[in-house]
Homo-oligomer: 285 residues x 2
Amino acid sequence: MDRVPSATGSVVALSGGIGGAKLALGLSRVLAPGCLTVVANTGDDFEHLGLAISPDLDTLLYTLAGVADPDKGWGRRDETWTFMRALAALGGPTWFQLGDGDLATHVERTRRLAAGETLTAIMDDFRRRLGVGCALLPMSDDPVRTRVRTAEGWIDFQDYFVRQRCAPAVIDIEFRGVERARPQPSVLDALADPALRAVVICPSNPLISIEPILAVPGLRRALAACRAPVIAVSPLVGGKALKGPTAKMLRELGGAPDNAGIARRYQGVIDGLVIDTMDAADADR
Amino acid sequence: MDRVPSATGSVVALSGGIGGAKLALGLSRVLAPGCLTVVANTGDDFEHLGLAISPDLDTLLYTLAGVADPDKGWGRRDETWTFMRALAALGGPTWFQLGDGDLATHVERTRRLAAGETLTAIMDDFRRRLGVGCALLPMSDDPVRTRVRTAEGWIDFQDYFVRQRCAPAVIDIEFRGVERARPQPSVLDALADPALRAVVICPSNPLISIEPILAVPGLRRALAACRAPVIAVSPLVGGKALKGPTAKMLRELGGAPDNAGIARRYQGVIDGLVIDTMDAADADR
């Protein structure tokens, strides 16, 4: 029930949200239907207003389905915000913005999780209903929660990312629960598929989008064991992250905020790093 | 925490949803602020999509706050329906319509109930935030669930009322859990208040809107004990219910579908029944 069929001549893409979703969309356009498996980070998942929210899975779902907001990169196009206005009038928490259409994803996911379905099964049904041809899988059906240590102590990722807008310096990162998380079985199947052509690590933040996936027990080993090349696409262009706090976090955690720093984080996992022509000089380092 | 102050020279109104809310609104306009306590039926309450929904309380809240949809009578004015469209696209259940703004009430109520607050405290906060001056109380903070027996067996009230549009003949009605429900303490306070001027039974369906309130242990006795007159306003005009299945249900349950039938249902509770001039002949029966 929570396995989806893999396809021949396939590509596996590991992705976070906005930046990764753009490459996943590109891959879905050039690959035959059924030849792409997108594996999403679920370390950003959290519960808010009693709803199970999966930011990266949803950004991927909306982007691949062509219903993402083209300006914001997250959320849905043609969205309305009546719910948030009414919630504010009732004194409810408004720091995390939920569009009216987006809310349907969270309410229906929460309902189906409570009824005993796996996140995998639910997202697989959603993506089919929205006309997405490639497989979209969570890295695990078990809860993993990314937390960030700042001067104030450990805080939830969404607190850092949304409420505090990535302002505090990051001292440490943990993926709580990851040691007990089982990799989604179809992810292992896809990586073990003899017809696998490549694994692409999308241009997401290595620290908070890709490393939670790599931290799921068994996934790093499965990547090392697969015969297909594992190629990361750098999230940096001209030495800067197009979106998000990648460079800032790399610096704060003592790494070089450049492609050399990214390559080091992926050491032992990748066979190559695709960088922008603006950063050609990084290739020598 | 779950008591609200009562006022001198006060009126208590017992009400269901749409029809009752109109009279409650009228009363709130003619009485001094703080002199009206509206007691709502919660037998229609149910859980849907994991959300705690209180149809009559919400119709009263929206009507008294001036934000009710003027055409439908339920739900909110200036409502959007993006959530329902998105839910339908994801294959979610769509038989119960939830507007985007209305959804905020259910999500925030559910969140606060899960955090341990009473329905009374939550609704009291909501009505203050929306500028409602009178007290709005659930008949009880304990769950009571109205169920209807049809040829198919016992079904939930909203299944009968919304999904089946009141089409099946009603053989019996029960208020499940009512024998264990404790009356909301402020309702008893308001009825025992020496300054109470009147109890008004709003023009709601006696069978499914008022009788659940009367069935809460202690409330019928408190009404009998209060010195103020208890006056019901008939929901019939020209022998017909303006809205809803009142006449049909009265007939199916073996009563007369007229003001005499309504007066009989309220026997021992009311001191008088206000009827429309079109039904003046009923006064003699």
